[in-house]
């Protein structure tokens, strides 16, 4: 029965090649297959984004999962004024913000979280590279901007759309992050050589 719901548009183009726009319209009508196409297309991207924000695999799993749950619940109201990708990033950003708030609110959780990071640092010190550490030293806001602009290849306007802030704010965050990263990574390189 489910295949009956798939639009000819999506079906004819071969699901994996159907444009976001067509999949979104079908998903908005409740077409599970169309939403699955979008999920398959963007899950790894959102998971990587989440991981770069928290550096914890389990948390990245949770953030990515919650992002797609919220996307599924909210897709009927999505008006396609932003690209679907940017819309997903915006949701992932909000989920990550909630995750950080929860971590701060529950001190114990934060302690556990910190302990987990420290444990990982100790156990994987050999391959825990300098770039990883430099990014972790950035504040959450700066790191998010760096992840979107440098890793996801967004321009400042798209990143601003995803983060829900002004383009100037993203430019500033990138500017500040670049200074910090260059300082840390340059000194690290000198130290190691």
């Amino acid at each position: 029965m489910e295949t009956v719901l798939i639009s000819k548009d999506v079906e004819n183009r071969n699901d994996a090649l159907a444009p976001d726009h067509a999949c979104v319209i079908q998903a908005q009508a409740g077409d599970a297959r169309a939403f699955e196409v979008l999920f398959d297309r963007y899950y790894d991207m959102i998971h990587a984004f989440a991981y770069r924000l928290c550096f914890l695999e389990a948390e990245a799993d949770d953030i990515a999962q919650e992002t797609f749950i919220r996307a599924a619940r909210g897709i009927a109201g999505y008006r396609q004024t932003a690209s679907f990708k940017n819309w997903l990033y915006r949701i992932a950003h909000n989920v990550a913000v909630d995750w950080r708030r929860r971590a701060v609110r529950h001190r114990e959780g934060l302690t556990e979280f910190t302990a987990e990071v420290e444990a990982r640092l100790e156990t994987t010190e050999s391959d825990y590279d300098e770039v990883h550490r430099a990014l972790e030293d950035l504040s959450a806001e700066l790191r998010e901007a760096v992840v979107l602009v440098y890793f996801e290849g967004m321009n400042h306007r798209d990143a601003a759309e995803a983060l829900g802030c002004a383009e100037t704010t993203v430019s500033w965050r990138i500017f500040r992050a670049k200074r910090k990263l260059k300082k840390v990574l340059s000194s690290g390189k000198e130290g190691s050589s």
């Binding site: 409740g30 939403f35 998971h47 897709i75 391959d127 760096v146 383009e167 990263l181 260059k182």
Partner: protein, 198 residues
Amino acid sequence: MNDGQLRQRLSELRVPLATESARARAKHRALIALRPGDAPAPAVTDKSTLWKWIGVSAALCACVVVLIAMIHRPQAPTENLVGDRQFLRQIEMLFPGQVDAVVEQNGHVDLSIAQSSLVGSQQPVLMVFRKDSSSIRVLSFSGHRVCVLLGKEHRCFDVLATTNGGVILESDDNVWVTSHPVIVAGYSVQAQTLEASL
């Protein structure tokens, strides 16, 4: 360390792939959460597509007109900020994501085009370097690095727009806030964002 080296270092970051079980769990729960739409999907009509094409065509025509106007512009720099902004936008349309800067010096216009698509801001910025009778006008975007030859000195600046329409220029050894004219290598420098000019 320059921007290219920083980008190179950042690309070293390893990201683990999601496990199949995590992916399957997430997909299952997301599909359960999927509800049939209670609002009709926005339709992109042929009419809106037509208007888009008309818009693009009009922009391209305007681009040609502005290019001709730029070529025939008098030697002395004008302060037509709206024109500057439109000109920069039109060049950007011709080379999407690749325009680093447009430099106008003594009536000659040079384009600095990156080989690959640049990631940066879309906030246009105008910088004017003046010394005696010569002037250099640079159109670029916030967040970009601009290099100009000031006399015999080759100077590079990171350009950054501020929220109040000002511009910060940062060189390797100095930072200038250009709400007031500053002097660099004997040139007075004025800079402003072009967003506010419309």
